[in-house]
Amino acid sequence: MPWRLLRFGLSKSHPEPRMFTAHDKLKPSYDVVIIGGGGHGLASAYYLARDHGITNVAVLEKGYIGGGNTGRNTTIIRSNYLTPEGVKFYDKSVQLYQDLSTEFDLNLFYSTRGHFTLAHTDSAMRTMRWRAEVNKHYGIASEVVGPEEVKRQTPQIDLSCGGHAPIQGALYHAPGAVARHDAVAWGYGRGADMRGAEIHQQTAVTGIEVKGGKVVGVHTTKGFISTNKVICAVAGFTPRITDMVGFKTPIFVHPLQAMVSEPMKPWLDTILVSGSLHIYVSQSARGELVMGASLDPYEVQSTRSTLDFPEGLAAHLLDMFPFLSHSKVVRQWAGMADMTPDFAPIMGMTPVEGFYLDSGWGTWGFKATPVCGKTMAWTAVNDKPHELITGFSLDRFRNYSLTGEKGAASVGH
């Protein structure tokens, strides 16, 4: 290591290649164009190259890699969902995540912590039992535990939550994990780049050309590209892109805010979630408490933050952990969550041939990054939905066959 450092110090030019190749110009055409250089888009490029040998691919990113919701989430990875479609899908994602550090040769700080979803009411306990049974049926490690198990693993907790929301029990999901979210985007990006895909940052899409119901090209701030296949993975920007293509979706955009505390000694091993108190919290490898809550209560398509958010979140956190009353908040931020009516994503085919959506990722997208890349790559190559995503089609709204995931997808209802 010191020799490597010395080489860096003595070299006149940068002795090692940067993580990604910077491309000056777009080519006139690509086999597949991916809009959005977040985790989902970069993973799609990675699996297109690795699993299908398709490397004539451009990933177009308006800002910088992983600067959207990939870098704005609270990094929780779990598969204890409610619907069979959701459970099978997220389980595949957790399996893929567990091998990623090795696969990328990049430390993702993937850390299996165990995940408690706290129940403060009888009806919440009923949902936890329901989720546990669905999970067990599909071989996922989930069980309902009593308050004493919560206390055993998190001795600092006030089980009465300030006296007004006593914890009745919890759904315990042992595989629940956290990971360093930026590294996930970088790992997929580097892997795609090494295999020949082009990543174009600072390149915004300004229009999409459709002829006879088929995609024929994409207008960008750096010129026109012709292509027959477009994968759209842009989270909160989805409605703006689908407006360019010319069809409607049920997606609506609300900000989701998060914040971190000052770093402290490790004390919180597990991930704790409470739907009633609108909170999820874990401690990062740096020692910061990473905290999130429910969506902002009305539509906004920007990443502004509000003071109401840390006030409300801090109050609920103190219900659970009164000893944190003197800790400081050091950062807060927001992401644009593309919400759907049934809290399940919208993936796969659209009314326009060659235009594939990876959207509706609302507040639950980071944990799905690997499986989204894998299934979207397969879907674009085979021009039909991968078997794991058939429950998430855009058609389900027209057919009134929703995939109700609200009881497991987020907090605050």
């Binding site: 539509e299 109401d308 027209r398």
Partner: protein, 85 residues
């Protein structure tokens, strides 16, 4: 603190208000097709813009319309239903 102006009660903190979404004309449930009804029930205009929205001042249960820029989160004006001149 974010503020909202109720046409009856004046300017109040936004935490006193509930958002009920963009105004959308409902099709006639007896005569429209299943597709039209699904479109009305589920589809939304999720792109940013100046939108006319239903809001409610919850302590007084006053329903009114706000014209709001949803990208800048800026309320341009508010008025009661039928007062849009």
């Amino acid at each position: 603190m974010k503020l909202m102006t109720c046409p009856i009660n004046g300017t109040r903190p936004i935490s006193e208000f509930a958002y009920w979404g963009e105004i959308r004309p409902a099709p006639d449930a007896d005569t429209c097709s299943d597709d039209q009804w699904a479109e009305y029930v589920f589809h939304r205009n999720g792109a940013p813009g100046v939108k006319k929205e239903w809001w409610c001042h919850t302590p007084s249960n006053t329903w009114f319309i706000a014209e709001r820029d949803t990208e800048k989160d800026k309320v341009l004006r508010t008025y009661l239903h039928g007062d849009d001149k």
